[in-house]
Subunit: 129 residues, 2 copies
Amino acid sequence: MSQDSSTPTCTPTLPGFTCGLDATLRVIAGKWKPLILYFLAQDGPTRYGELRRAVRDASDKMLIQQLKELEADDLIKRTDYKEVPPRVDYSLTPLGHSLAQALVPLCTWGTENMADVTRVFAQRAAARR
Amino acid sequence: MSQDSSTPTCTPTLPGFTCGLDATLRVIAGKWKPLILYFLAQDGPTRYGELRRAVRDASDKMLIQQLKELEADDLIKRTDYKEVPPRVDYSLTPLGHSLAQALVPLCTWGTENMADVTRVFAQRAAARR
DNA sequence: TTAGGTACTTACCAAAAGGTGCATACTTGT
DNA sequence: ACAAGTATGCACCTTTTGGTAAGTACCTAA
């Protein structure tokens, strides 16, 4: 359908990644990262507690850990207001913002195909018995 | 930036998912699934061995396992030609095809931001010492 | 005859991911 | 005085994920 059948990767071959998708996936690997990015893209700077309630199944430990990684990867920015009852918020960097944009179609797909996805999960659950 | 701050999820609240993105992520969770889908979207029906060589870091065990799950989830179709030296190929179902389309922006993002991604990974590696 | 390719399967093990619960230090509301 | 909210940190443990290496049954080329 495309290319010459010899090196069937999606882009020639990059540094350590097989293709752009591979690179992206390694950056957003982590149970909550895409959700965090997407949420921040919608609601702008958000305080820790608010994020916690939004991504409601994540534990503190996990959420903090993923936030730290996203920050280290320059996808989000942490702002500590140094106030007495702690106040901190998180916002997207330009890089994080562009990545969040790329997640939009996935969200759309999930919404549009909710019926199929739900069915698939029902089957998975049934299969486990 | 949007909505009313009370229920800050990306879509009201679905069956068991917090939003469409959540649903999608659960379907494509698995180290090689997005890569498999994306590859099949580009090259059409592909034999097992070819897939193996394309997704080159995956072991047989992993690849087979993920293929089985994708098949169970109705994202790909397995065709066994029942020939003597085994011949089998995999192709996308309509559902799988639409999901693969939603992955395109992620691939593009990875390619366009390869420099940043590479830097991020260099830092991660350095931080581990 | 022997090596290699086909598409898997299974058993065993290591590493990574993730959950629970407790602790901090200070403030505000009851 | 006491509970609750604020944003974490840490220790411990279980679950999930993924890798290695072996085996299967049959075929073809050297």
